[in-house]
């Protein structure tokens, strides 16, 4: 199916988001005490583009490859201008074959490069799964550490943009299950900038899941010299609260902040935790938050069964069982194929469904 999903459409999609939604991805709601210094306002697309440019400048062995990442700058323009800047040898289009892109990246990594491949959409990572699981995730192990796989795989991910089939998938549960991989997803521009810079300088493979519905949302990004204060590890409390912890990642973080605002009107103070790393999961961060709130709801777009919400819920339960007031609730996509645009608002956890989930937890009484 054609990509209906670049600039114009996304800007249209943006118009559909509420004012509150945009506002919540502001620095107030994403307090970053450690991040002092210069900030610039930019979209996540710009932040990612900037991060890539810096990584490419700092590491001459870094390479960008994928479908349409060169002259076009990617269908989402994340690599816009980079081929011009770094040349056709370092930023190059491949033929249309995702297994090829990842398999080639393995070989490039063996030759000492740091490939930053893109697969054009989440759903088109599936043809590369064999290479990702059996090779990218395992070569360091198989070679007893002599052939590291510093591969940063960028995957425009998740739904919400009324796109064609296979353009709205959430693959985090699958990737998080794979030994040897690390998985991260930014929720806003500042996170995107810093997490990508961090991921793309690791010696291990990182699946970098970009919430495509958030590409065009703007926010302050700390690009100053002392951005070094940014802590790229673990989860992050993006709103403090004491009655319940909402755990989310990617595009669902902004939605959970909206929910928290609404709940606050009823006097319910919700803590919102941006999980950020989907592997390794920040068990301590989860436990610390829920130790305080004693209630938790985890939200994701992926289907419920065997989704990452089960892992998050299990970690919380294992660590906080003694103090938990209610079972951890999961508000997720349904166990159905990601639907067409007309139905996606029914599928993706919306504010009402998250509020119902919160209500169930708050009203839970031991039977």
């Amino acid at each position: 199916m054609s990509e209906h999903t670049t600039l114009s459409d996304l800007e249209a999609a943006q118009d559909n988001t509420t004012a509150a939604d945009v506002q919540q991805e502001s620095v107030q709601n994403f307090p970053e005490p450690a991040d002092v210094g210069a900030t610039e306002t930019m979209s996540m697309q710009q932040a990612l583009n900037r991060a890539l440019a810096e990584v490419m400048t700092e590491n001459p062995r870094a390479l960008i490859l994928g479908e349409d990442v060169g002259q076009l700058g990617g269908v989402f323009r994340i690599t816009d201008g980079l081929q011009k800047k770094f040349g056709e040898a370092r930023v190059f289009d491949t033929p249309l074959a995702e297994s090829g892109i990842l398999g080639m990246s393995v070989g490039l990594a063996m030759a000492g490069y740091h490939p930053i491949p893109e697969v054009q959409f989440d759903g088109f990572a599936y043809p590369a799964v064999n290479q990702i699981i059996c090779q990218v995730g395992r070569m360091n192990y198989r070679s007893r550490g002599t052939l590291p796989m510093p591969i940063t795989l960028r995957v425009p991910s998740f739904g919400g943009i009324r796109a064609p089939e296979h353009h709205g998938e959430s693959l985090e549960a699958m990737f998080a299950h794979v030994p040897g991989l690390k998985v991260v997803s930014p929720s806003g521009p500042n996170e995107a900038y810093h997490l990508l810079k961090y991921a793309a300088t690791r010696q291990d493979p990182v699946i970098f899941m970009e919430p495509k519905s958030r590409y065009w949302q703007k926010g302050p990004v700390n690009t100053g010299a002392d951005a070094a204060g940014y802590n790229p590890n673990g989860s992050r409390v993006v709103r403090e609260g004491k009655h319940l912890t909402l755990v989310a990642w990617g595009a669902m973080v902004a939605r959970c902040l909206q929910v928290a605002e609404l709940a606050a009107e009823d006097g319910i103070e919700i803590e919102v935790l941006d999980l950020r790393w989907l592997k390794p999961i920040d068990a301590e961060g989860l436990a610390a938050s829920v130790a305080k709130t004693r209630r938790a709801v985890v939200v994701h777009e992926a289907p419920r069964t065997s989704g990452l919400g089960a892992e998050v819920a299990s970690i919380i339960t294992e660590r906080c069982f003694g103090t938990l007031k209610a079972p951890v609730e999961r508000v997720t996509g349904f166990d159905v194929p990601y639907p067409s645009g007309d139905l996606e608002d029914e599928y993706i956890p919306n504010i009402d469904r998250i509020l119902y989930g919160i209500q169930r937890v708050l009203e839970y009484r031991r039977g």
């Binding site: 199916m1 054609s2 209906h4 670049t6 600039l7 249309l96 064609p164 029914e346």
Partner: protein, 348 residues
């Protein structure tokens, strides 16, 4: 453009008067609907569309050659012209572009036209499986149903396409691999996509006949396809048709071709408009006159109006359908999710 490996049997006699006029009518209907769909997108009627502008001859010509009483079409996402040529309900077809239902609302089994396929290369193997199935039920060679699979120059890079060609050739499955080589896969030109420059040239390596045809000549396409179909139908195995054409429009309504090709390049590489060419031919051969062309256009317009009205009237599908079609035998777990969804979304 020449046969890479000659196909024996042309499968179909020369096309004559009314057949040629019909081809033209189909091309106009497709062209008009295609251009309209871009307008629909600009007007906000549909969120996106992948135009087939310039590929009318390849699509209509090949679709026209099919025997829809026994053949089966496996499209990708740009085959609106094929769908129209073989008689798929066009409101139901276009509904996928309204984001109503992934794959389209038409009944693929009754239409003998598989659901629209967004995974590039994803349906090529299905065609091979379906085709192999035709050989298992006792149908005599010569009367086999043939699967025709449509894909692009870009798709030819996918591993699945290789597996499909190899499976088909090993098993002598009656399948026609129909490549629309339109010069581009989004921003990547064929020369940086298809090593060796031609998908048809690959066929020899599988011991399969192939033909590379001028994809902007609707009659040539129809004849090449007919020859390939006849070969497959006769039980001689698969064949490849590569229609050399040009994507005259953007990849999709979201695309900005100005970033990777100039208007001059488009003009130089695009060659002759297949519609203009057919029109000139019909005129030159005295098969049609201006009145006919006007009539054809008027019919196309009327048709588009009906389709637009149908698309306009299309409401969203009920949310229950998210759950209804997952399984033939639904699970309790999914039924419970459907009930929860209903309660929460309808605030009951």
């Amino acid at each position: 453009m020449a046969d890479v490996l000659a196909l024996d049997g042309t499968g179909r006699a020369e096309l004559a008067g009314e057949e040629l006029r019909e081809l033209y009518r189909l091309m106009v209907a497709v062209r008009y609907l295609d251009e309209s769909a871009i307008r629909w997108q600009r007007q906000g009627l549909i969120p996106g569309y992948a135009p087939q502008l310039g590929q009318e001859a390849a699509q209509v010509g090949s679709g026209y050659a099919l025997d829809m009483s026994r053949d089966f079409v496996f499209p990708t996402y740009r085959e609106m012209g094929v769908a129209r040529a073989v008689g798929v309900d066009m409101v139901e077809y276009m509904s996928t572009h309204k984001a109503t239902w992934h794959g389209g609302l038409y009944d693929p089994k009754a239409s003998r036209f598989a659901p629209i396929q967004a995974v590039v290369g994803g349906s090529v193997l299905h065609a091979v499986g379906w085709a192999h199935g035709q050989t298992l039920d006792g149908t005599p060679a010569g009367e086999l149903g043939v699967a025709i699979t449509y894909f692009g120059d870009g798709a030819s890079s996918q591993g699945d396409v290789h597996e499909a060609m190899n499976f088909a050739a090993v098993m002598k499955a009656p399948v026609v691999f129909f490549i629309q080589n339109n010069g581009w896969a989004i921003s990547v030109p064929t020369e940086r996509q298809v090593a060796g420059g031609s998908v048809a040239a690959r066929a020899a390596g599988y011991g399969m006949p192939s033909i590379q045809v001028d994809g902007n000549d609707v009659v040539a396409v129809a004849q090449a396809t007919a020859a390939a179909l006849a070969h497959a139908r006769a039980g001689k195995g698969p064949a490849v048709v590569e229609a050399m054409t040009y994507r005259r429009g953007p990849h999709s309504t979201s695309d900005d071709p100005g970033r990777y090709r100039t208007l001059e390049e488009e003009r130089a590489d695009g060659g002759e408009d297949p519609l203009a060419r057919m029109r000139a031919r019909l005129l030159a051969d005295g098969i049609a006159d201006e009145a006919f062309f006007e009539e054809a256009l008027a019919a196309a317009k009327a048709e588009e109006e009906q389709i637009r009205a149908g698309i306009n009237a299309l409401g969203p599908r009920p949310g229950t359908e998210m759950f209804d079609f997952v399984y033939q035998e639904p699970t309790q777990a999914l039924k419970a999710q459907a009930s929860a969804w209903r309660e929460e979304s309808e605030h009951v």
